[in-house]
Symmetry: C2
Subunit: 417 residues, 2 copies
């Protein structure tokens, strides 16, 4: 019988975990990081891992690990997992699916036996990927990017700091500084995740093999004009900040065509028009632009082109503008050897797969600072995520989980390095 | 000595009235309709009118009248005035200047004597022009447009209804229904007002003679797309409601050029982008468009053109849209005979005047339902109004007031009709 996961067991785990933090009213999950429901989810996972006979631990950043050791203690570890925390009113798959697939893979491999493995296998469920406190906290702690300042700097929308939230969960926040793992201990990090976009669903592909994760920059732009009476101010005497925004938005397709690549995205997601009265010409507009690409050089070109467009519009319309860079993340490559393993295994399973970029950020991106990374995507029905409408067909989940299983099995047998 | 107002007396009145409702912190006036400061302003005006020996009354809508009767009680009345209420944090000229100029004109004419007048002269200070409760309440009461429903329907931003506010001022709101004047009693309504726009100031004109007041329509437009992840959703798979708005804004200059006239204005003053997260493609945009012109036919053409533009954008971008008409006001003509009188008197005074449209709404527009109207504008420094920065040079105020005075004197002597 070929090596395969048991989809019924995976479903069973999924339905159990999906009840933790569920709001009966909107059917959404509320397992935001370090909430009671989040900690309950972690406790549930620990019980599952313990029942499986794995060596279980939770580090100082609340990352949960379950270890299936190889015989040779001198070997490196292959980490497999994702995150358990959710956005408010979340779907049940984002993050959780990657953890549950890792659990089912380790269960399947433990039952089958791991003779000949040259790697320890370790499941990891990272904490605060979604960003109640900034995001990627668990993986950042593992790569050693967390400092005491991190713990005090980040706070949630209610003003509760990360350190306070951890303390309320009975943790000592400073122990997050001990969560760091050493690069020489780790062989690779593999993560299965829902795509959170429409590409696989539209193309009817079962799985995606991620080649790279887009980098991004996010600017908060202010365009200043002069607020004036909408009736008494002739069109040619206006310094209309909103029209500056409209011009800028209109340049996006041209800038992407001229300076971008196929993977480029640019989004104006937030815009505030002030003073915001129907009969007043807007005097100030605050907007964000979120720009993504898989190439650092392309991102730089796009940044320059957006800056030039703002300058030209401001001159033409007699406006002022400035912007602050709110975030900047470099693009990340998945490791060529892991992409190769995933492709070969997808072919041997007869899967209809797509090599693609990830437009969303993932723990894998952080883990790339420490080790080789690989990612498997499964389709998001209609591209929906961060919503109770988030869904993936069980057949696609099964396909993705088996690809993950085969890749783990093969990577665990690699020659020792 | 030629007939002329006394600018020093006008200044004196102006400085007295400007103290009523002044906030020492922001130097702005707060005489919103039926506030204590507004009622104090009305009491101040009544005392001034009484001191002048005029017949003073306040009607059920809190409009203040001061009457300088002609000898023949069978004659009609020439109304002259504006409003005393202000927006919050207002300048001192909007409305008040027209009332103070009317006061100074009646004082000048009473002193000089009104022998040979075939018209009663009556100053009027309307209430709630600025819209704490909908706007134009005083003039609407005078033309008989107020119903008991008006009193209960309109409420301020704190939820206080017009009827409640009037009751708190010791008035019986239902008496507003008795404020109606009969058309046969009134000969004309003349109003001096600041321009509230930049045209006279830019052209260095002392006065404007208003030919017409723009009509307008205001739509609340909803553009619906699909909210999606800004990173994972390829540009060509988006249904971005904000980009629909940007396209629409971009069509404004073309639509005004193709379908509008020189007096046409179109303004997107308010826009709300939802959900409004930087990393989410907007799924819904709510915006207002305020469109003005002096011609009803042009307004209709513009409405059709904006509708067609919305339809085309929605089709192209796979969006839905709908709109509700929030208000619709027909353009109003000033009376040709009054324009003629104002022009001749401006010429005889040697004033550098401009015949122009009013882009803002005024009580005169409402009074046109009842009688012939005429309006005089004085320049607004840099077009500023609804702000403590609102200002007009005293020399221009003097020019406008003398034009008003001469026009009153001439109209009061017209043949009896």
């Amino acid at each position: 019988m070929p090596l395969a996961i048991d989809i019924e067991r995976l479903k069973q785990d999924f339905f159990e975990l999906s009840e933790i933090g569920k709001n009966p009213e909107d059917r959404g999950l509320y397992r935001t990081a370090f909430s009671a429901a989040d900690m309950e989810g972690r406790a549930w996972l620990r019980r599952k891992l313990e029942a499986l006979g794995l060596a279980v631990r939770m580090d100082g950043a609340a990352n949960v690990f379950g270890r299936l050791a190889a015989e040779d203690e001198a070997t490196k570890t292959l980490l497999v997992g994702s995150h358990l925390d959710t956005v408010p009113c979340a779907g049940a798959l984002d993050g959780s699916l990657g953890v549950l697939v890792a659990l089912e893979c380790l269960r399947t491999l433990k039952e089958r036996g791991t003779d000949g493995y040259t790697r320890h296998l370790e499941l990891v469920a990272f904490s605060d990927e979604e960003g109640r406190f900034g995001g990627m906290f668990g993986s950042e702690a593992v790569v050693g990017a967390v400092t005491p300042e991190t713990l005090e700097y980040y706070s949630d929308l209610e003003g509760c700091t990360l350190a306070e939230a951890m303390t309320r969960c009975g943790m000592n926040p400073l122990e997050a500084l001990d969560a760091r793992l050493e690069a020489e201990q780790i062989d690779a990090y593999l993560e299965l995740h829902i795509e959170q976009g429409p590409v696989l669903d539209r193309l009817r592909k079962s799985v995606g093999i991620v080649e790279n994760i887009t980098g991004l920059f996010k600017w908060l732009i202010k365009i200043r004009g002069t607020a004036n009476h909408a009736g008494t101010t002739p069109m040619e005497m206006r310094e209309d900040a909103f029209m500056g925004l409209a011009d800028f938005a209109h340049e996006i397709p041209r800038i992407l065509e001229e300076n971008g690549a196929e993977s480029s995205r640019a989004t104006i997601g937030r815009a505030q028009i002030l003073p915001g009265a129907p009969n007043t010409v807007p005097g100030l507009v605050e907007l964000t632009i979120d720009v993504r690409d898989t190439s650092k050089a392309v991102l730089e070109d796009l940044g320059q082109a957006f800056h030039r467009a703002l300058s030209a519009i401001a001159r033409r319309r007699k406006l002022m503008f400035d912007y602050e860079i709110q975030s900047e993340i470099e693009p990340t490559e998945c490791h060529g050897e892991i992409i190769e393993v995933l492709e070969e295994e997808a072919q041997s399973l007869g899967l209809d797969y797509l090599k693609m970029s990830s437009g969303a950020a993932h723990d894998a991106q952080i883990m790339a600072q420490l080790t080789r990374i690989g990612m498997i995507f499964v389709p998001s029905r209609e591209g929906k995520s961060h919503s109770p409408a988030e869904w993936t067909a069980w057949s696609d989940i099964e396909a993705g989980a088996n690809l993950c299983l085969r890749a783990i099995d093969r990577m665990a047998r690699s020659a020792k390095t």
